[in-house]
């Protein structure tokens, strides 16, 4: 699970980003093999800029709101964390302020699972996808859609510099109900 760094969330629950990407060791990035698409983009600032691990490059939308980023997986995956990198100081009116996250099987049955508001965010914004119930720690889905509903200062287009999606790691020992945590168990549990 992501640990929100201090200062990321202010008293009203709005996110403002943190310097560090703080992700647990037992999570892994899930979207390397997913299909990414956006509703619109300016040439040269498209999807690759979202996934290139370079915070200098960004995706710039080029159309009407809401701007959408769609991530489609090859099979149903468990996800629990979404992290975006945005920078108010550099992007000002291009910085998203209201983001809606939807999940579903495809474009036809997306359902909103979370809405967040950002307030002058600078840095990584960690958005947890879990519900309150422990059974809802992970969402199980084929597709995730990130919708930028509005920007700061009422900007039309938006910049997002990087997006990462995290889910749990599979158990290295197959067919086990629980993960092994202690050293003795882990040492003796596989052959390499």
């Amino acid at each position: 699970m992501a640990t929100e760094s201090d200062g990321e969330e202010d008293t009203t629950g709005k996110l403002s980003g943190s310097q560090n990407l703080a992700v647990d060791d037992d999570s892994r990035e899930m979207a390397k093999k997913a299909a990414w698409s956006v509703s619109s983009c300016k040439p040269g600032n498209g999807v690759p800029s979202l996934r290139d691990d370079n915070l200098e490059t960004y995706w710039q939308s080029d159309g009407a709101q809401p701007h959408l980023v769609n991530i489609q997986f090859q099979k149903k995956v468990k996800l629990h964390l979404l992290v975006l990198y945005v920078d108010y100081k550099l992007d000002e009116s291009y910085t998203p302020s209201k983001i809606s996250i939807r999940a579903g099987d495809g474009f036809h049955n997306m359902k909103e699972i979370k809405t967040v508001e950002l307030v002058k965010p600078v840095g990584w914004v960690h958005i947890s996808l879990s519900g309150t119930d422990p059974r809802d720690t992970f969402i199980h889905t084929f597709m995730l859609q990130i919708a930028v509903l509005s920007n700061h200062l009422n900007g039309r287009d938006t910049h997002i510099r990087q997006i990462k999606i995290y889910g749990p790691r599979p158990n290295p020992v197959p067919n086990q109900p629980f993960h092994f945590t202690s050293k003795e168990f882990i040492t003796y549990s596989t052959i390499r």
């Binding site: 060791d25 119930d133 749990p168 599979p170 086990q176 003796y188 052959i191």
Partner: protein
């Protein structure tokens, strides 16, 4: 004429083999239109042919030819090694018994008499060294005088090394002047050898006394530690199997190990230079002194530290040199009657009078050593690890404390899943022969299992700095990344290792494991199959295939593959547990439980089979027994979250909610990963608890 032709054929076959043109190589050695012609170059030829058959998956023929190679030349250790890998070796006592000493004899006689080697690039024994002397370092010349009568046992390489400039396979040296008729003589050890070859040599080689070392060191300096030898960087000699040099090596080992090799081959360096090789051939210097020491092998401690790092290039040199050394040493032994002080100037060994008996004595000593090493190696290939350990303990102290032997022992402990011991032995081996590469991939896996990130990354860095082009170094590097869960980078490193040496089965296996971690099962299967093609008895690959099928829930296939792995290594408690798991998934529960019980007995320290047993019992609804097992497990490993979680689950099913809560709480306290937290918490929620307890959750 005839001789030349057959030697040319051998050379041609060797070159083809190096270039991976196996069909042409085979055709050269066994021409289709001359079905009854003899395989050129005697034992080495048979060895090469055996390798060709092995890599084209014709196991029976391969075994046949390796046996023939051994019959012709009983000191051809690499052939014996190949037989062990194929799982078809006979007992070392039979192969290396004293009776065969008789067979070795003639070649020495022959060698000594064939002084006139043509210069061409023959390396042959000392005499050849003479000829090549000019090309080589001055040491050579020294050697020559000392060696005059010393037959060089698989020489060959020496000369070529001289040429080294273009790294022509020293195999060229295979040409021995003696005509093919004398099978024994001048048989050049097969060119192919592993990096490890040197290791092996070094490893078992006795250590030389330091005094010797100094003597030897003086000139050439490159003492080669067996381990150091590396394959010719040009990959002329393909890799995985250490070559034939072994025989030379062995001779060297046994006899001269001590001194000889050290002095010999300093394979270092980047140039193939024969110097090294020759140097190795310690001959020059070593010839005499080495020989002497050799005879005293028993007493000598070779200071491995004096060894230089072998560089790849020299590898093949080394073997030769060693061989030659060995040869020399044998001779010296002979002449000396076995005892020599190291510094005694050794007069040209020419005790022709005592020659014959000398040879026999020397050979017997060598064979004694080979018997132990061979038996140990054979048992370790059969995964009878405890027995193999006992056998290695029979080695004399100074032989045991050498890089090769210690890393073999380390490997045995690794197979026994005793990682701490394995770590200790490998560490010792590395300290004794720091440039050894063979077996270091196993060490990196041990460190991976022990989760020693620091040590592992240090090992990987060191190996890369020793030899950037060796597969073991990249395997270690990949293991490092894999430990940090960066599977893509790990995969890249393993693929590099594969690229460097596609006949190195373990690299393929590790690629497969990374693909599994990345959930790319098709590629994983492909990699495991490649590994199995190189070495069908590589049980890790069978295990890997089993894992893939387990994940894909194809339980029949999984069971079959685990069974194959079990068949090869019947003592591994981990394989037994997995096989039990697969059988349980196939609902063959009784067999599963039997196997799991066996696993528990086989290795008391391994908690996995007990956990599996509990898991299976839960599925069979035998809750009380399961609880009993789990309670035992708690004694064994009190900080394992999954044990408590499973107990909680059982108590929940048995409706003992307070106990369930207690154990779930314990499980959560041990901080399992998020996925488990979710499961445990939701299980707790569903428990029928009084309100106040629920609130406190």
């Amino acid at each position: 004429m005839f001789l030349k032709m057959s030697l040319s054929r051998y050379l041609f076959a060797l070159s083809c083999f190096q270039m991976n043109l196996l069909r042409e190589a085979e055709a050269a050695l066994c021409p289709a239109n001359e079905p009854n012609s003899e395989v050129p170059n005697g034992a080495a030829g048979h060895y090469l042919l055996g390798l060709i058959y092995r890599y084209t998956s014709r196991r029976a023929f391969a075994i046949d030819h390796f046996m023939q190679a051994l019959a012709i030349d009983p000191l051809l250790w690499t052939a014996y090694e190949e037989l062990c890998v194929l799982g078809a070796a006979e007992e070392a006592n039979e192969c290396f018994n004293d009776a065969v000493a008789v067979r070795i004899q003639p070649q020495y006689f022959f060698e000594s008499s064939s002084q006139s080697m043509d210069g061409a690039s023959e390396d042959h024994s000392i005499p050849s060294s003479r000829t090549v002397g000019s090309q080589d370092s001055p040491k050579q010349s020294k050697q020559t005088h000392a060696t005059n009568n010393i037959p060089c046992y698989p020489q060959g390489v020496v000369t070529t090394s001289v040429q080294s400039a273009n790294c022509v396979p020293s195999n060229l040296s295979l040409y021995n002047t003696p005509p093919p008729l004398t099978q024994l003589s001048g048989i050049v050890p097969p060119p192919v050898y592993r990096n490890a070859y040197l290791n092996a040599l070094g490893g078992d080689g006795p250590s030389k006394p330091n005094a010797h070392a100094t003597i030897i060191q003086a000139p050439r300096r490159k003492f080669m530690d067996e381990g150091k030898l590396r394959k010719v960087s040009g990959r002329l000699f393909s890799g995985s199997d250490s070559g034939p040099r072994r025989s030379a090596r062995l001779s060297g080992d046994a006899m001269a190990n001590v001194n000889l090799h050290s002095s010999q081959t300093g394979a270092n360096g980047t140039n193939y230079s024969s110097t090294k090789f020759l140097g190795g051939f310690p001959s020059s210097k070593m010839g005499s002194t080495a020989l002497r020491s050799v005879s005293n092998r028993k007493g000598q401690q070779l200071s491995t530290e004096s060894f230089d790092e072998g560089r790849r290039q020299d590898t093949f040199d080394v073997p030769w040199s060693q061989a030659s050394a060995a040869a020399s040493s044998s001779l010296s032994v002979i002449s000396d009657g076995g005892n020599t002080e190291q510094d005694r100037g050794y007069p040209a060994n020419s005790g022709t009078s005592g020659h014959e008996s000398g040879v026999i004595n020397g050979a017997k000593e060598l064979l004694f050593l080979l018997r132990i090493l061979g038996e140990g190696y054979r048992l370790s290939s059969l995964y009878r690890c405890q027995d193999a350990l006992e056998i290695y303990l029979k080695l004399p102290q100074h032989q045991y404390n050498t890089g090769w032997v210690l890393s073999q022992v380390g490997r045995l402990y690794f197979e026994l899943v005793e990682y701490f011991e394995a770590d200790r032995f490998f560490d010792l081996a590395r300290r004794l022969s720091p440039c050894t590469l063979e077996g270091m991939d196993g060490y990196s896996t041990v460190l991976y299992h022990l989760k020693e990130e620091m040590k592992l990354s240090y090992l990987a860095q060191e190996l890369i700095s020793i030899d950037r082009l060796s597969p073991q170094a990249w395997c270690a590097m990949g293991n490092c990344y894999s430990l940090q869960r960066d599977h893509e980078t790990a995969l890249k490193n393993f693929q590099r290792a594969v690229q460097l040496d596609s006949r190195f089965a373990y690299a393929h296996t590790l690629c497969g494991h990374e693909y599994i971690a990345l959930e790319d099962y098709d590629n994983g299967i492909r990699c495991f199959h490649s590994a199995l093609q190189v070495n069908e008895r590589h049980y890790n690959s069978w295990y890997g295939l089993g894992i893939v099928f387990l994940r894909q829930e194809k339980f029949e296939f999984a069971a079959h593959n685990f069974h194959r792995a079990y068949h090869i290594n019947p003592r591994s408690s981990i394989i037994m547990s997995y096989l039990g798991m697969a059988l349980h998934s196939l609902k063959r529960n009784d067999e599963a439980l039997v196997l799991i019980d066996k696993a528990i007995i086989a290795d008391k320290k391994n908690p996995l089979p007990m956990y599996e047993k509990a898991s299976i019992l839960v599925n069979l609804e035998r809750y009380d027994e399961a609880l009993k097992v789990l309670k035992q497990l708690i004694e064994f490993s009190p900080r394992e979250s999954s044990v408590y979680a499973l107990m909680g689950k059982i108590y929940k099913i048995l409706n003992k909610h307070d106990k369930a809560m207690f154990y779930f709480g314990n499980a959560l306290d041990l901080r399992p990963p998020a996925a488990d937290v979710a499961i445990i918490k939701s299980a707790m929620e569903k428990l029928n608890l009084p309100d106040e307890l629920e609130d406190s959750l």
